[in-house]
Symmetry: C2
Subunit: 482 residues, 2 copies
């Protein structure tokens, strides 16, 4: 391993990375974020034909850019999306878990989102798909820096309420509809919104509208790309697709496509939609000047009968096992990111915030803790090593594991989201290069690592003293105590 | 799934595949067989940097040829090598398990090896590395069709006997040397042999000679390639490398190469050796006219502290779990095999025998059961589907599982070689596309498959009536009962 930023810079708190990257060029930025797409689904990650569907478009994207094998996310949808939008671990923002229906939720308006940063630098900003960072209109994406939005404020579990007895390729969940009273627990909706206008309920979120949502997302995102390319305006297109979140059902046009069942059909759609976005960039003549990121928000779907594939990793989402933390990540930027590179260096989803903000010419806020570090030099291959050596992994509001280089300290034992999370009296240490499935603790042979791990946790705690975390459910306006 | 050979052709018994492939061209054939190299080690299979070592040469080979994700081997070293050499499931040949030291072992001379077939058609034939198909000189490879051999008759476990107390990067096995008396249980040797000459003991097999064996193998194999290329003689180079079989220790020149420990260093050597073979083919001007196969003999090493990586698959070698059955397989033949193809179709190591024999212009014997089917049209991309739909998986002499398309019937429960193998009262059926880790039996939902599985087992049993299996330890000369 070569030298890199010291441990003290790990959390990136108030550390300003110099803006060296094409601030004036302001590339377009496309973030394709799949939902619960496990590490092992895509062909480039050892899936594809193994899962019954080739993914040629995404594999080609990987061949044209950099692919990470140690890209880390938070353990759930809401926290990961919060980290992406703010560059901050979700524990800081009160967004550390998927909110229950009806509970106060979301990002306070005090947060400065990536969309707000880029918007302030002249970017057109759009999001199509799941927000999951506030289900009250005041916290909709169009009040958090996006010019336009089409999608759902929350998530897709609720699709099951109204459809559990449909014979629609969906195994009924016991009790899904039994006793459900829409007057008491309302159905969820797909919304359309524009900045400065009232949001509009478009239609109910149900099995049928979930099935066609990614097609609608693609239509709107590609129109946005075309429109802004023609106008010569730089853009941020944030495309959080609905697939492969349960119920994992493909668009009707993809039913039977692979002959290998609905999961494989959905995977074929995943690849097709990415291909449509890429085609739109090419058709609009902005392929060269657009940085494309394709990633997933957390570990693979794990809700029977929809079972994702996490490659060699163990565990489920909502835990701190590697299957939960490692997600696929591909970045293409012709002429800037070398083609076909694969790296096992640690990158965290919080890092995208400063990296992309700087590309757009924006600075990250200095009045709060920002955990992300600018990774552009690393991603562009100007340096071999990531600017991050490790990070603390929270599951909801509990510090559950700490990663540093190829080591992982496990503080809480929990493989499956439905099992209890049990604190370990003696933390376990895994060498993730030799023990991919986190089976053999080597703590006693490597006690020299423990102080480094303690440092990582300690730095975060120290920063909490200066910047107290926002409580979950905190109302607007939020005013920091200092 | 498209139509293909019917179930009845599954076992290939006495089925003659027409020779349509370049019989007159007689390509050179190189078989690089790694030892206990798990499915998940190579970069092309999702390993590489994940394991601490890039494998650029082998990944490039995959990019230039076809890569299989459902290449199936037998569960142990000896059976797989037997199947490769004879085209017959090892249960037929009495070679269905790794023999104990001192027990009668090996292939009877009645068997017709791939080397004998190709030798009869004018091929030069060489093997460098582990034979494991007969530790008495009468059954050495030079008496089974090979012109030359350098390597070990048995395997590498014995390296530990004489070195367990060396402080040589090897964790001592309890009792390895305690009480070992070389007079009673002799040490093992590296041999050198030529057809028609007495074999020569070169040196003791110990930690030091194991470490350098793959270098010696490479030197001899590349000299053979150069010599025969110059002579214009077609050749079969069978290169069963020692890595990554335990003790998994790299050549001294590779110690510290990656900075990621000895396993990663060994993996770097694996890639380097393959690169040297490929370079030799190019230097000798025979790259175009040489078919190269790179594969492994069984599931990943699983002897602490040497732990292999099996990608998404579960289990260890010496079981019938997918981690045991699926091995990496890459084939390159410029102009004949399409570049960059990946297929999840089932191919079995027995299939290489007829496939390669036919390429060399030889016919497979008609007086015995041959289980392999010619796969050249499939491997060359002339057809989408394999000529094999399934196979019975034996562990030693017990039928333990049956595979058919994406389904697997598990008859015996055993995840780990050290656990008991327990017959299942109700066999389990797994959908290997949706349930990579063989966790959820769907037998009750898919009882239509069970008769097809029963057919596969039934055909094999029926062929046993006509061609009784050779007993383990059978002496020469072997005379079939019919």
């Amino acid at each position: 391993m070569k030298s890199r930023l010291s441990c003290l810079a790990l959390l990136g708190t108030l550390l300003m990375t110099p803006i060296t990257w094409a601030a004036e060029a302001q590339p377009n930025i496309v973030i394709i974020l799949y939902d619960n797409l496990g590490y092992g689904e895509l062909g480039a990650y050892g899936g594809g034909v193994l899962r019954g569907a080739e993914t040629p478009r995404i594999d080609q994207l990987a061949a044209e850019g950099v692919r990470l094998t140690n890209f880390n996310v938070e353990a759930q949808c809401t926290p990961s999306r919060s980290a992406l939008m703010t560059g901050r671990f979700s524990i800081r923002s009160g967004t550390y878990k998927v909110p229950r229906v009806g509970s106060p939720d979301g990002l306070t308006l005090w947060e400065v989102t990536l969309a707000e940063l880029l918007s302030s630098r002249g970017y057109a900003t759009g999001i199509w798909g799941k927000w999951h960072l506030g289900s009250s209109e005041a916290r909709f994406p169009t009040n958090q820096g996006f010019d336009e939005w089409y999608g759902v404020p929350r998530t897709y579990d609720e699709v099951m309420w109204s459809n559990a007895d449909e014979s629609n390729g969906v195994a009924p969940s016991i009790g899904s509809k039994q006793g459900w009273d829409e007057k008491r627990v309302p159905a969820q909706y797909i919304y359309e919104a524009r900045k400065g206008e009232a949001a509009r309920k478009v239609k109910k979120l149900d099995l049928a509208s979930k099935r066609t949502l990614d097609e609608e997302i693609t239509d709107r995102a590609t129109a946005f790309i075309k429109r802004n390319a023609q106008a010569g305006k730089p853009f941020l297109a944030y495309i959080p697709f609905s697939l492969v979140h349960m119920p994992t059902l493909p668009n009707p046009a993809f039913v039977g496509k692979t002959g290998n069942g609905s999961w494989a059909d959905a995977l074929a759609e995943v690849d097709h939609r990415a291909g449509q976005i890429l085609d739109a960039l090419k058709a609009a003549g902005v392929e060269e000047n657009t940085l494309v990121i394709l990633a997933s928000d957390n570990g693979g779907e794990a809700t029977h009968p929809w079972e994702g594939a996490n490659g060699p990793w163990r565990g489920t989402y909502f835990t701190a096992m590697e299957a939960s933390l490692r997600a696929p990540f591909i970045m293409r930027w012709p002429g800037h990111v070398p083609a076909g590179r694969v790296s096992n260096e640690i990158v965290h989803i919080v890092d995208l915030y400063p990296t992309l903000a700087h590309l757009g010419g924006a600075e990250v806020p200095r009045d709060r803790a920002v955990d992300g570090v600018d990774q552009m030099d690393f991603l562009a291959g100007k340096q071999q090593n990531s600017n991050r050596e490790g990070f603390p992994a929270y599951v909801a509001d509990r510090l559950s594991a700490i990663k540093w280089r190829n080591w992982k300290l496990q503080l809480i034992q929990q493989d499956n989201m439905y099992d209890p999370a049990v604190p370990l009296a003696i933390p376990r240490l895994y060498n993730l290069l030799t023990d991919l499935r986190e089976e053999r603790s080597v703590a006693i042979d490597n006690t020299w690592i423990l102080p480094l791990m303690t440092d990582i946790a300690g730095q975060l705690k120290a920063s909490f003293a200066k910047y107290p975390p926002i409580e979950s459910g905190a109302p607007d306006p939020y005013v920091p105590p200092n």
